[in-house]
């Protein structure tokens, strides 16, 4: 039998490849293409709660306030006055912003945005504003917020992007067709999200590429121009060695920690938690298995935060001391514990390193990596002994109340370890943040691990991209693409 079909297929295949080669070459594009490990889910700031949506919404919509370098609230769209402890007045700064549909932003839009948010029954943000008793428009530039109970952090909560009142009334689909007032304007969203910069028309293409290796390959081939975060350190180091790629790193503020179930009879003992803190060699982990600019953490908020505490002592790696503390607590060695984490390869790797380090202290750590949904559900329901998580984008010291107050046990908050400590509750209610951080550091409901460094890898023809400690993508406001094609 002749095998001409096979030959025909092979020749056809070769011709096809030649044709594809010609038509699939990456051509220099004026568009800036960014690969995301996780794409946005919802571009309506009243609903968005995932990190990617929040980062993009910051670029499409401006909010009343923003944060300065010390993470203190500062005016963005509006400046504020405290008229009394339950009455805040916000005045739009001039020149007044304009929505992307050409309509000028007024106090009516601010009031409409927050009023609509308060009326929503399925928004993750509505409860955060339950303290608002009334919102009144004073004039075109001024809006008053009235509170039920005093809240000194109130301005720092007003970070929801402002929407046009007219479109809110028409029940416009902001989730898929956002009309904002920020530096970037929505263009389209079918598979990839396309935005354009108001100031110079620079076009952006943001595409979700889940696999880290594929993101790197796309960057190397020039199919994308930059990627930020979410890469294993070895890939970052590999990219740094490539001639047409540059890698920038800076300090981060996202806090990684090891959480305890304080209702567990063994982990409820302070000596056991101290032993675990002394059984982890954080400097070595940071040096060997993390990206540059990662640094050990002492508290949820970093030292440069206005409510941070730079004077906290560190828990040194000392397996011998850890053993002694365990014996003092009356624990039989080896102490068997279960550590839950997600299936993320880097998280599993870090857990494996900690497992090996803890062995020297007489702790036998069993790692259970679970898909994100199951893992987080277990954590919220207290079904764990130890877990590892990261607080991302935290701005206010209110996080301490949410994470440690005895009335913040899930589902009413994020006190997942179910800490019940009257003294801490009193400190939290007094908002004595320095004492709170000191006390939390001593009592160890969390073992503070590190603030992971931020990095961006981009092609060399990109300039003016500044990294932010919380990993936001504000650098897209200024980034430029040179004509030179590297």
């Amino acid at each position: 039998m002749k095998l001409w079909p096979l030959g025909f297929i092979l020749i056809g295949g070769l011709l096809l490849c030649t044709w594809l080669s010609a038509c699939s070459k990456t051509s220099p594009s004026s568009e800036i293409r960014m690969a995301l490990s996780q794409g946005p889910l919802n571009l309506d700031p009243r609903y968005a709660s995932d990190a990617a949506s929040a980062r993009i919404n910051r670029l499409i919509y401006k909010s009343l306030i923003d944060f300065d370098a010390q993470t203190k609230p500062c005016p963005d769209l509006a400046a504020w006055q405290v008229l009394d402890d339950r009455h805040y007045r916000f005045t739009l700064v001039s020149p007044r912003a304009t929505f992307h549909n050409g309509v000028a932003l007024t106090a009516k839009d601010v009031a409409a945005t927050y009023q609509s948010l308060l009326s929503l029954k399925n928004s993750p943000h509505t409860a955060e504003f339950a303290n608002i008793s009334d919102i009144r428009v004073v004039d075109e530039n001024t809006v008053d917020f009235y509170l039920t109970v005093p809240d000194t952090d109130f301005p720092a909560r007003l970070i929801i992007g402002i929407l046009p009142a007219e479109l809110i009334q028409q029940a416009h689909d902001f989730a898929h067709d956002p009309v904002g007032n920020g530096p970037l304007k929505f263009a389209s969203w079918r598979g990839t999200l396309k935005l354009s910069r108001i100031s110079d028309g620079q076009a952006f293409n943001l595409q979700e590429v889940k696999d880290p290796t594929v993101r790197v390959l796309k960057l190397l081939r020039g199919e994308v121009d930059l990627l930020q975060g979410d890469l294993p350190p070895e890939l970052v180091k590999y990219l740094a060695k490539q001639s047409d790629i540059k890698v920038q790193a800076s300090i981060g503020s996202n806090f990684s920690y090891l959480g305890f179930n304080l209702q567990d009879p063994v982990l409820g003992k302070l000596e056991v938690r101290q032993a675990i803190a002394h059984a982890i060699d954080r400097p070595t982990i940071i040096r060997e298995a993390m990206v540059d600019e990662s640094r050990p953490a002492g508290a949820v908020l970093p030292p440069e935060h206005w409510a941070g505490n730079p004077n906290l002592p560190t828990y040194e790696y000392n397996p011998q001391l850890a053993r002694e503390l365990l014996q003092k607590a009356g624990v039989t060695l080896p102490l068997r514990l279960v550590y839950k984490t997600s299936t993320d390869a880097q998280r599993v790797r870090l857990a494996t390193i900690m497992q090996a380090q803890m062995q020297a202290a007489g702790i036998a750590l069993e790692i259970r990596s679970l898909d994100w949904g199951t893992f987080f559900d277990d954590i919220k329901h207290g079904q764990f002994q130890l877990f590892g998580l990261t607080w991302v984008g935290i701005k206010t010291p209110d996080i301490y109340r949410m994470a440690f107050h005895s009335q913040s046990v899930p589902p009413k908050g994020a006190n997942r370890g179910q800490l019940k400590d009257t003294k801490l509750d009193q400190l939290l209610e007094a908002e004595h943040w320095s004492a709170v951080t000191q006390y939390v550091h001593e009592q160890l409901p969390y073992v503070p691990l590190w603030y992971e460094g931020q990095f961006v890898a981009m092609r060399k023809n990109l300039v003016d991209y500044a990294l932010k400690p919380d990993g936001n993508w504000d650098g897209l406001k200024t980034i430029k693409k040179n004509n030179v094609n590297f």
Binding site: M1, K2, L3, P5, L6, I9, C17, L20, S21, C23, S24, K25, T26, L41, N42, D44, Y47, S49, D50, K121, N122, S123, P124, H125, T126, A127, E128, A130, A175, H176, G191, T192, Q207, E208, V209, K210, D211, T213, V214, L217, K218, L220, R221, E223, D371, W372, G373, T374, D377, D378, K380, H381, M402, P410, P411, K412, G413, A414
Partner: protein, 303 residues
């Protein structure tokens, strides 16, 4: 008889709907918590639970779900608030396109290779074909995919790494899926053809003086195709179900990727809809396979 076969689909679909509904309600996670986050009050949660009908007994929830499905309403995504029917209408053609191209690649590779292996049984061509098919079947898609990217996209620069922005983007995911399927089909073709070549009717055809090409193509291959069609049907069902890993690795916006994302995000209505579409695609493909079977072998009848 075909009507009876078609009616048989109804209990299958009902069973799928019931199982999907139960599975989604049994896995850990609560859609209300997903929607409201950690700051909502108990009263807010109870209100939303009531609004969504999640406070109703499971039987009532299932009947409501069936009623909506019967009206073609698959609901809305928890996260994006998008209409799920519209989401699927976008995704299904992409998955179908990828599945059909993968199948075409698999057939184009496997049939000639399998025939060659059978005709040159125990010769070097047979060993080479067997080695190739074994090698390909031993490669998981999450490994083969990036390998093809490295070679064809990065080193040779012929094809895009991933995405859906150019027509050429489909080639690498289709090759990844097609090679895996070709490995199975090659071995199946070889085994099936070898068996048929020893049958009496093939010997008779040769004795009648027919040339070898006619014997192979018109007599042996036609008979050997029956088990291959069965495997093809099952495999195509799997491909239409969404090649979960391949679609994820190649950022291909198909049903498989949507399913994985919905499970990760606990977007239950989307998960339910995806599983339903996948089950239906299996049912339809199996039905089509049965029909083709009767055409190829008139002896096969449905009782």
């Amino acid at each position: 008889m075909m009507i009876k076969r078609l009616l048989g689909i109804i209990p299958v679909v009902f069973g799928v709907l019931l199982l999907t509904f139960l599975l989604v309600h049994l896995v850990p996670g609560d859609p209300v918590e997903v929607m409201l986050g950690e700051s909502a009050t108990t009263a807010d949660r109870a209100q939303l639970r009531s609004d969504l009908g999640l406070d109703q007994p499971l039987t009532i929830q299932f009947l409501t779900y069936l009623k909506h499905i019967a009206h073609g309403d698959m609901g809305r995504s928890i996260h994006t608030q998008s209409d799920i029917s519209a989401m699927l209408a976008d995704r299904i053609p992409q998955t179908a396109k990828l599945a059909l191209l993968s199948l075409a690649i698999a057939i184009a590779v496997a049939l000639p290779l399998g025939i060659l292996a059978a005709l040159k049984s125990n010769q070097w061509q047979d060993h080479l074909a067997t080695l190739s098919s074994l090698t390909l079947s031993a490669m998981p898609h999450f490994w083969l995919g990036p390998l093809l990217m490295l070679v064809f996209a990065l080193w040779l620069g012929w094809l895009p790494v991933s995405g859906m922005e150019s027509n050429a983007s489909i080639i690498l995911p289709a090759l990844t899926l097609g090679f895996g399927l070709a490995a199975i089909l090659t071995r199946m073709t070889r085994a099936s053809l070898l068996e048929v070549l020893n049958e009496d009717f093939v010997r008779t055809a040769r004795a009648k003086g027919l040339n070898e090409k006619n014997v192979i193509v018109r007599h042996a291959l036609r008979a050997a195709l029956l088990p291959i069609i069965t495997v093809l049907g099952l495999q195509l069902g799997g491909l239409l179900a969404g090649a979960v890993i391949t679609e994820t690795v190649f950022s291909w916006d198909g049903v498989g990727r949507l399913l994985v994302e919905s499970i990760e995000k606990r977007d239950y209505p989307v998960t339910q809809a995806c599983v339903l579409v996948i089950a239906l695609s299996y049912v339809v493909i199996n039905l089509l396979t049965d029909i083709i079977y009767t055409q190829l072998d008139p002896r096969v009848k449905y009782a």
